[in-house]
Subunit: 272 residues, 2 copies
């Protein structure tokens, strides 16, 4: 590869997709960690949520989302959708000649680093728990781990209602986490990109001795490491651009997305 | 029309569609009221929920759903999806030569019958409230009506978690309905097919003097009246058949759907 094309390659954007807005917590961490990188986010709001769809349908959607980002000339794809990643990462890696990262592997690797007693709770949507992707991944990485997977279907709608510190949210967190009370878990893995927004309630309920691993932060660290390893970091000194596309209703994406991304955004339709 | 084809026509099924399972509360009331009628239900679970999609997308989905039911040779279409009905009923009536009923009009007509002080609350999803379909309809039907529209986005996920009598559900019902406390409404219109399943909590919160109108019961009454008016009632003496189709994951549809339909069901995929 010539020096010039190598430079061009480095200045391409990182592509991130999710079924909707949740992956913006991942983009937020990537942007915080790598301010000089340009990032293009695609939220498949026309077909959100993926959770209740079949594996074949989810895979097809993820392939289409990847193709959309490839058309935007990205240098890396991040599957920032847990359900999507569970059913597509391997296939996407076989199909496309570009680095494909996801939100699942880095979280699992981080859990392996921090757990001492190997008693680990996994909180996620019904679909992600059902996929067994975290259970399988943690078991492979941490032999002898005791896993406590918990589906928490109301966390996403509560977050989307912005009830971050509401008594009803506390009640539901308490109820969902009750089965963990006597399990002596030392690590809780947040296997959904919405959950970092109620992390403080979860931490309070679990106690300060429990380590909470969120996949947004861990995924951002992995993106940074991967770009560094392959000498693909941007060499810009100024901040990179941030672009947002949604497959339906960019205005609604923008309004809700700002809560997740943590600052103001502009969103375009992916449908030309 | 000859006597024979008229008979055949009467023995065709009623077609009901919704974006997912909510419309099963409508089907349940139709089946209770018209046990001799055959009914075919289609839940568009591959694309649920419609609420956050654009008008154009919702209309397109409703046209496709209607075409699917027309292929099953139905004698009537019931749009049992509030969001779908808001954006499609008029167009469907222009496009298709078959009676098209929906869940919206009968509820509005019933409210007009029962309200005395014309102070009316409308509870629905964000999308339905945003569509203004109930506000416009009630205002046209009841001149001088005072309307109190309230979006209740958490009711659907709470119902789908089956938290029908949970303290968190009571807390959220209380919070959503708080703005109605001093409004002296005498009628509450449930503009979402999920809400009948928490009707008792809503009734308790509003007080027994308030009339609750649910669109499932009122829609079933309209279906019965319309078939009678057009001489299209089935003349079977035995019970009609009930068929269920879902555009994705029929097994999940079945498991959740039984809660909404109130008895056991079998579901087939609409994708051949």
């Amino acid at each position: 590869m010539s020096r010039e094309s190598s430079l061009n390659q480095n200045e391409k954007a990182i592509g991130i997709f999710d079924s909707g807005i949740g992956g913006l917590t991942v983009m937020r961490q990537v942007a915080n960690r790598l301010p000089q990188e340009s990032i293009i986010y695609f939220g498949d709001t026309a077909r959100v949520p993926y959770g209740e769809k079949s594996q074949e349908t989810i895979l097809r959607y993820c392939i289409e989302n990847t193709l959309f980002l490839m058309e935007q000339q990205v240098k890396m794809i991040v599957v920032a959708c847990n359900t999507g990643a569970a059913y597509s990462t391997e296939t996407l890696r076989q199909m496309f000649n570009i680095p494909i990262l996801d939100v699942i592997e880095p979280g699992i690797a981080r859990v392996a680093e921090v757990t001492k007693n190997r008693r680990i709770a996994i909180l996620a949507t019904k679909a992600t728990i059902r996929s067994q992707v975290y259970q399988r991944g943690v078991s492979e990485k941490i032999p002898g781990a005791q896993l406590f997977p918990l589906a928490c279907p109301l966390f996403v709608p509560l977050v989307e209602e912005r009830l971050f510190n509401h008594p009803a949210t506390e009640l539901i967190v308490k109820e969902y986490l009750a089965p963990l009370k006597d399990k002596q878990v030392d690590t809780v893995l947040l296997g959904c990109t919405h959950y970092p927004l109620i992390q403080s309630i979860i931490q309070r309920e679990m106690g300060s001795h429990v380590m909470i691993v969120d996949s947004a932060t861990t995924c951002a660290a992995r993106v940074a490491a991967s770009l560094a390893d392959t000498n693909q970091l941007s060499s810009q000194s100024s901040g990179g651009s941030r672009q947002f596309y949604a497959s339906d209703d960019p205005e609604r994406f923008r309004a809700m997305g700002e809560v997740f991304f943590g600052s103001s955004i502009e969103c375009r339709s992916s449908v030309s």
